[in-house]
């Protein structure tokens, strides 16, 4: 896609890439590349280096470390992070609670949280989903009852990524069960994870790794300063937060990273010869490259405001990119699985964990079926 960029953007991209390769330890990037499980300290190390370089929170307001990049620059930065397999800044910190605090927080909250959030001195987790409120988030029922200035929390959150690593949680809680609509009467609260009454239980997943959790609340007391934004108006905060999730939704940088890895592995001598000499591998590889190019170009059209011609209207782009991006990411993990099948051992085990884990990409964050419903209605008028 080289020729589609201005000289300036090309330079920007190349500088970012060079910096990342020079500053982020190879060992960290190798772990990421091969789907080896990252420890808490790996994420912390990566994010602190990025923060020092001004690359952890470039999309935040300038006074809190933001860079005022153009959408294309932001895109190129994210893509280079992925292509170079840099362990990404924790999304709960930099994409979710950070921008929320910068927008809705009190001055005291901003002072207290934003710098440590950018530097991963505080590890945040997200308390949104509940057993019966996943795709249909507004159905949440976990209670925050008024007691004095603060609240008492009771109930359960689920799918809470890295709750077992987290220092603080931000989440949505029902502060007014009598509100006339289910989107009303919800508040956005933040509190430390070591508050008494919080219990974290691992959810075992098919990749055999510990990432998601259930979090139970029994009479958990939080203070008045836990509230972000207005009481009972937490849905507005959530909408703002979820809107931010849409950047780089396709994750094509990961696809390209994995295609690079595949090419590299295919040129090794394997137990059944050099994979690069296997025409069936080459066919699948080429097909993936063609598809990636096409989706990459769709993404460029969306980024440059020329989406209408291809998408009908620009706001359909997110759903299309989510569907195709997840499909392509999954297809690359599948090809990697096949490439390492005859190799066996730990290399295969890591690839298998990656393959199984990334099935979630087409499920989480609004499943591909939900995206198709959105498109059927919004783009096709059905």
């Amino acid at each position: 896609m080289h020729h589609l960029l201005t000289d300036e953007d090309r330079r920007f991209r190349d500088e970012i890439a060079e910096t990342l390769r020079a500053e982020i330890p190879q060992t960290l990037r190798d772990k990421m590349r091969r789907d080896i499980e990252l420890e808490r300290e790996d994420f912390v190390e990566s994010q602190r280096i990025l923060n020092r370089l001004g690359l952890a929170v470039p999309h935040w307001p300038a006074e809190w470390g933001g860079r005022d990049w153009t959408p294309i620059q932001r895109h190129l930065y994210l893509e280079q992070m992925q292509v170079n397999a840099v362990p990404p800044p924790l999304p709960f910190n930099v994409d979710m609670v950070g921008p929320v605090l910068a927008r809705f927080g009190t001055d005291a909250q901003k002072e207290k949280f934003l710098k440590p959030t950018a530097n991963l001195d505080i590890w945040w987790c997200q308390g949104f989903s509940e057993p019966n409120a996943g795709s249909d988030l507004a159905s949440l029922v976990t209670r925050a009852e008024r007691r004095g200035d603060g609240w008492v929390l009771n109930g359960q959150k689920t799918w809470t990524s890295y709750a077992h690593h987290a220092d603080w949680m931000f989440g949505l809680f029902r502060t007014d069960p009598q509100a006339p609509k289910k989107q009303m009467g919800i508040s956005f609260l933040v509190f430390p994870m070591d508050t008494p009454g919080i219990e974290v239980r691992e959810i075992e997943t098919s990749d055999g790794r510990h990432e998601v959790n259930e979090v139970f609340f029994s009479d958990v007391e939080v203070g008045a300063d836990a509230l972000v934004g207005e009481e009972n108006r937490g849905w507005d905060v959530a909408k703002f937060l979820l809107g931010n999730e849409r950047h780089n939704i396709a994750g094509l940088g990961w696809v390209k990273m994995r295609l690079n890895l595949l090419r590299e592995l295919a040129e090794r001598d394997g137990p059944t010869g050099r994979l690069w000499d296997d025409p069936e591998f080459r066919r699948r590889f080429a097909q993936l490259e063609v598809d990636t190019r096409a989706v990459d170009m769709l993404q460029m059209l969306a980024l440059t405001g020329q989406a209408a011609g291809a998408f009908g209207a620009p706001d359909h782009a997110a759903s299309v990119l989510k569907i195709r991006g997840s499909e392509l990411q999954q297809a690359t993990t599948e090809l990697l699985l096949d490439a390492l099948g005859p190799v066996g051992g730990p290399e295969l085990a890591d690839a298998a964990a990656g393959y199984m884990s990334f099935r979630k990409l087409s499920i989480y964050g609004g499943s591909n079926e939900i995206q198709r419903e959105i498109l059927a209605k919004a783009a096709l008028g059905l």
């Binding site: 960029l5 190019r293 020329q306 096709l380």
Partner: protein, 339 residues
């Protein structure tokens, strides 16, 4: 790279859309000539638009969407470019003005020997009723690009299976003195240029036809009832239509990408073009098949526009040697496709 459409291309796209409306009847050759669209790739100093690759993309996409009955690619885009490349300003002016009808064919089949040119050509799009044929011929001087008067040949109309006007040609005549447009490297360069235009036009036309398939199906599903429900109420059909739409968008993006890459002289432009063709062929075919299936019984009748869209997509999917050849070529590349 500027993603904005230029003023000229906007005008050309609008013109093409008026001539080949997404609904209704597509213009005949005379109307297209009068509107000036035969001048698309004729240089401005020969009275043409001097349209480049992006102009070709916009016009071909509109032709695909509107199921143009006139084979613009073979009778305007290629002849204009080939005449321009060989300095045939007079004939180019005639083409631009709609006075001379020229068809171009890029495949071998003609032979020059002993001062005569001869050969059998089939499926020559746009040759029925044309005055001139531009075609390569092999002979003692190697491959040459010839401009031949069709009056001296035996031209039998034989439309392609989607109704595209075409002819079989049997030729055996004295080689006219001024027939050679180019020889040697110049001939190869001209043919390479023309092949790029042809492939780009095929990909862009597929993008337009796939869009049309999606639009027709999206209009049909809410209209038609079965077992007391609108077809649009069946979720399985809705989801399949969404996947068709995404496929059409990918063809659109990829063919536009090829046009921009060729225009920018990108090092990987020819690979991007082949990738765009493969994407168009595979995705266009699936879109056509699904559109027919979602229309049900009427999908295979001529009553609804979709059957003609399906025919068009089927024919376009066979261009450039077909999916096998394209897959082989792309899979066989040592260099990575992604820049």
């Amino acid at each position: 790279m500027d993603f904005e459409i230029s003023e000229e291309d906007r005008m050309l796209a609008d013109l093409a859309e008026r001539l080949f409306p997404p609904q209704g009847t597509s213009a005949d050759a005379a109307t297209v000539a009068e509107a000036g669209l035969y001048a698309l790739t004729v240089p401005e100093d020969a009275g043409g638009f001097g349209g480049g690759l992006l102009s070709v993309w916009h016009v071909a996409r509109a032709a695909g969407r509107g199921l143009a009955g006139v084979p613009l690619t073979q009778t305007a885009i290629l002849p204009g470019a080939l005449l321009a490349a060989s300095g045939q300003d007079t004939l180019a002016q005639g083409l631009a003005a709609g006075e001379a009808r020229v068809a171009a064919c890029l495949d071998p089949g003609l032979t020059v020997a002993g001062g005569r040119v001869s050969g059998q050509l089939s499926d020559i799009v746009g040759a029925e009723g044309a005055d001139w044929l531009i075609a390569p011929a092999d002979g003692p001087e190697g491959r040459q690009l010839l401009l031949l008067p069709l009056g001296g040949a035996d031209v039998t109309p034989a439309p392609l299976f989607d109704g595209t006007p075409a002819a079989r040609i049997a030729m055996d005549m004295d080689l006219p003195g001024d027939a050679v447009l180019a020889g040697g490297n110049a001939a190869e360069d001209a043919l390479t240029l023309a092949r790029r235009l042809l492939w780009l036009a095929v990909a862009a036309e597929t993008a337009g036809a796939a869009e049309a398939a999606v639009a027709e199906t999206a209009a049909y599903l809410p209209d038609r009832k079965q077992f007391g429900q609108r077809l649009a109420d069946f979720q399985a059909l809705r989801h399949r239509l969404v996947d068709m739409m995404i496929a059409a968008q990918e063809i659109h993006a990829m063919s536009l990408h090829a046009a921009m890459a060729l225009g920018a002289g990108a090092v990987d432009a020819d690979v991007v073009l082949e990738a765009a063709l493969l994407k168009a062929a595979l995705a266009g075919r699936r879109v056509g098949q699904e559109a027919v299936q979602l229309h049900g019984g009427v999908g295979v009748t001529q009553e609804y526009r979709i059957s003609r869209v399906f025919q068009r997509l089927t024919r376009l999917g066979l261009a450039a040697g077909g999916v096998s050849g394209l897959t082989q070529r792309l899979a066989g590349r040592e260099a990575r496709l992604l820049g």
